[in-house]
């Protein structure tokens, strides 16, 4: 093997030189835009800090408002109508009288034309409620039951109007008006 190694070492290799190509390549290299040294790591550091601050703010929001997770879930999974519709209804109800009686069915109907309700959330709520009853309470399947949506609107005087609608009927009506934000009186 030593002989073979010596043979490979002694093997004449082409000693080629290419000075013209070397010069041309150097010219090409000088026209290449080299990235500014040190800027890349700073951009990466700044991006990391932004992400960390964002995550920190999110965590702080969850700690400060324990209801945030639940309200986010309701918004994402389903539940009350989007804020845009609620505020539109509230804006219309301002036109009405102090107890909401002048909130016309047409006004409400327009808002409620998009009737949607999360049956799963309702079922979870009832099951939770029944589990807290002193005596066992059977909850019948909600399938083939009438499903209602209940929406709450705030009037300009601070009173609340509850509207519930049987899904599919397309015939909403005002059922309850609260005297104050704290208590709701059902009619």
């Amino acid at each position: 093997m030593k002989d073979f190694e010596k043979l490979l070492t002694d093997l004449p290799k082409p000693a080629v030189e290419v000075p013209a190509f070397k010069q041309e390549l150097w010219r090409e290299l000088q026209h290449t835009q080299r990235p500014v040294h040190g800027r890349g790591p700073w951009i990466a550091l700044a991006a990391s800090l932004v992400v960390i601050v964002g995550l920190g703010a999110l965590l702080a929001a969850f700690v400060a408002d324990p209801e945030l997770a639940a309200s986010l879930r309701v918004r994402l999974v389903g539940g009350p109508e989007p804020a845009g519709i609620a505020s539109a209804a509230a804006a219309r109800s301002v036109v009405g009288g102090i107890d909401g009686s002048t909130l016309t069915l047409e006004d409400v109907h327009q808002v409620l034309s998009r009737t949607d309700a999360s049956v799963d959330l309702d079922r979870a709520f009832i099951e939770d409620w029944s589990s807290q009853q002193p005596m066992p309470v059977d909850v019948r399947s909600m399938e083939a039951e009438s499903v209602y949506t209940i929406r709450k609107y705030e009037l300009s005087d601070g009173k609340h109007v509850l509207v519930f609608t049987e899904l599919g009927s397309g015939n909403p009506s005002v059922r309850a008006v609260a005297d104050s934000p704290a208590s709701t009186r059902v009619f």
Binding site: M1, F4, L7, L8, D10, L11, K13, A20, K22, Q30
Partner: protein, 188 residues
């Protein structure tokens, strides 16, 4: 007027000092002048961009350049590309034709080089760096990122395979010696 920053000035010194060695290493590996030029260009483009991040404590600059060249060649072996640089004009074209003529005269080298390319890319690099470029194992270890112990064992295996393949092609030790003598007579 274009200002030259200190890093660029340092790179120019590196380029001047190591261009020929890198070009020759790649030429010995691929036995093709145009391809060697192309790979040399890619090596120095990469080195030029990465040079500001190169730290001398990480090793010798020559090892760093050989490592880039080896990686470029391995990439080429995986996905062969056509030459990215222009064919060249005037002096470069004439120079290339002369280089090809010199290469053609080294028949014994071309035969060994052809057989060498049947080995695994890392074994090719190992044999070329050790016996063509005559690098010590410590430097090859730096270039290939392996321990010298591993490289010693691997070299022995690579040489056994190379010798077996040369024998299979009718270029046994004696045949290689004669080819070497013929090359010497031809003035190579």
């Amino acid at each position: 007027m274009r200002t030259i920053d200190p890093a660029e000035r340092r790179f120019e010194q590196v380029y001047e000092a190591h261009f020929d060695a890198i070009f020759r290493y790649l030429l010995h590996r691929v036995a093709d002048v145009s391809l060697a030029e192309d790979l040399t260009a890619q090596t120095f483009f990469k080195a030029y961009r990465a040079f500001p991040r190169f730290r001398h404590r990480e090793g010798k600059v020559s090892s760093w350049l050989y490592r880039i060249a080896t990686n470029e060649l391995n990439s080429h072996l995986r996905r062969p590309r056509t030459a990215s640089l222009e064919a060249g004009f005037g002096d470069v074209r004439v120079e290339r034709e002369n280089a090809e003529r010199i290469l053609e005269r080294h028949t014994a080298f071309l035969e060994v080089s052809d057989v060498l390319r049947t080995l695994k890319p890392e074994d090719q690099a190992l044999v070329a760096l050790r016996y063509f470029e005559q690098k010590p194992f410590a430097e090859i270890a730096e270039i290939l990122g392996r321990s010298t112990r591993v490289l010693t064992v691997r070299t022995h295996r690579a040489l056994t395979r190379l010798r077996r393949e040369l024998d299979r092609r009718g270029m046994d030790h004696e045949g290689l010696r004669k080819a070497l003598d013929r090359s010497a007579e031809a003035g190579c």
